[in-house]
Amino acid sequence: MRAMLFALLVAFATAAAPAHAVNPDEILDDPALEERARDISAGLRCMVCQNQSIDDSDAELARDLRVLVRDRLVAGDTNDEVVAYVVDRYGEFVLLRPTFSARNALLWGTPVIILLLGATAAFLFGQRQSQSRAGEALTVEEQARVAKILDEGERNDG
């Protein structure tokens, strides 16, 4: 189940970003290579834009980066090598998906931490609540009375 969810996520994360700004003359002849180029481009930030990937941006710099990515792919780099090459030159700022590093632990950890803390808090609160009400449970005599009243009620209904 978890593997399936993860695969779904990957499908989402890659499918969610089709190429937008690529010009016809940039497109590689090999469709498999072009597909990889687009996957990579969707995760690289256009440095002079606001929150756009190089795939989305019309900016000159984005175009240069798109061409660079394709050049590296044609030269035989793997996807990781291409990304490493770009990060080497431009720094981590260029990555739209931050790395899983110690510095970003808080960033990636937040959803999990908050969810666990919240769940624990809700659980503890529920516990405390039911404990504080424990003393309010009915005594044997009270239960007998309740049963009697309910009994009478049923007889009256009938």
Partner: protein
Amino acid sequence: MIVELGHYALVLGLVLSLAQMVVPMIGLRTNDARMLSVAPSLTVATFLVIAVSFAALTWAYVTSDFSVRNVWANSFSDKPMIFKITGVWGNHEGSMLLWILTLALFGALVAFFGGNLPSRLKAAVLSVQGSVTVAFALFILLTSNPFERLSPPPLEGRDLNPILQDIGLAIHPPLLYLGYVGFSICFSFAVAALIEGRIDAAWARWVRPWTLVSWVFLTAGISMGSYWAYYELGWGGWWFWDPVENASFMPWLIGTALLHSALVMEKREAMKVWTILLAILAFSFSLLGTFLVRSGVLTSVHSFATDPQRGLFILMILVFFIGGSLILFALRAGTLRNGGMFHPVSREGALVLNNLFLTTATATVLVGTLYPLLVEAVSGEKISVGAPYFNYTFIPLMIPLLMAVPFGPLLAWKRGNLAAAAERLWLVAAISLVAALAIAWLAYDAPVLSAFAYALAFWLVIGSFADILQKAGFVRNGWSKGWARLRGLPRANWGTALAHAGLGITTLGIVGVTTLEDETVLRMTPGETTSFAGYDVAFNSLTPGKGPNFTYDKGIFTISRDGRVIGTVEPEKRVYVASRMPTTEAGIQTVGLFSQYYLALGDAVEGSEDIVVRIWWKPWVTLIWYGTVIMVAAGLISLSDRRLRIGAPVAARRRRDEALAAAKAEPAE
């Protein structure tokens, strides 16, 4: 003269809101009924003078009075009238004036409709509301005066940012502001309750309609903004996880949580402290959103103001209101007693789950939005947190939440029966799965796993009606009686079902367009025809022309399928005269009800007649916005029910008064 009048009215608004803040507060301290009773009149007066101020600025825009710096900087004499008017809030100063106008409007609405509120609570609410108005009136007057004059007056203005010259902009910010600022009422109610130290189910009943109103506007505003970005920014995206989108999304998420927790409080007197906290947080996120947008701290398309002085001022407002209310909360929360207890598997339990996931999602969006700032402040390094981060974190949080939605309304208060609910939903699950597999099979090139996402969306849409169908009991009661029962259901039940179904339809649209979308980019010569995604696109012509304040190149394309013409689209590339700024206007043809064919012009190819054309096939994309429209309608339906019920005590009192009058009249006979 009228401009100076507007300026004067704004100063008067500051003074009146100061009185609105101070006088009732003194009245609360000294228990002086007269001081409490002026609060509504002061609130209405504040609203009226601020409305005059806003009208004055609008007048300056309409008449293109370029001696006003703000008009000169954001308008142009040849601009169409509609954009002269919307230009009033298409800039920093004007939009802040709109913000404070809505703030005062909501205060006035409480003063007007709050007839059944206890006078002390009402005075406290209006006083807190006044304090927010004071802060923002000061902000405008001290740092962002829209009425500043220029001497000598220029002959022509600099025009409004072209991408904002669109009907979408006319509607998007006011809706968003009504939503943002609507939460100020919830905030004021929360703080007033903390000041008064009294809170009960009645409080929740007063707050819920305001939450609902804000939520409706915010939903509409965000959705409008999303559609605007879709057709105006020219690359067919509908959500970018842009910091400014996040800024409006966070209050929406928290507001949705508040809507649900207030329900628990109203029905069962439980989750009081938490509900108060959410009410404070919802407005805090609205303030944070304003800060993020207005300070330009996060650069984005939306920030037309980048001025550290303004940023600092709003930061101070932010710290004062959020910090102050949270301190008050910390001091007073312990005194609020919690009511009804419940089993984990119950309606309450389901709503706790809803709140857990929604708050976690909000925290995730918050951290993702602010993390680059944090890292830069601490280490000086620059990192980016873009869409992939949010897709990897937000979507996994939404999946369990969406799966749980149909269960919620089926569980009883206090102690529910999960097995019984599951039994009622198995048919829904089966239908969803079959529908999803059918789609996955038809769209054979879609990722197979997307079937799961389709199933989830159908599950949500169909499952949302499980509750009202069960209540109608067609099987037990037969058609006519079941139908009568269905019509007799409270509108709130319909609201819940429709809102959840709307969410499902939006999900379906998102899943559909994400998994089945297709795009191509190519060079085209006028007269050429290309074939894409099963349709033929004929490029008829490319003609230059001149609009009121821009020049354009317009392409005309005919879209057809098997020789049958579906429609003609006319995408444009514009250059605005005053700003020399280019924009793209997409050509969109809706195919069937839900899918769209989306064309945008790229660059002309030098040395030829060719132009780059980008074509997208966007299956089911409109469902995203139809879903939000249904959510808005559901909110309104629920609201109409609510008003009836709130009206009830008034009617009862009137009956009692009539009975009393009749009783008094009797002895006279």
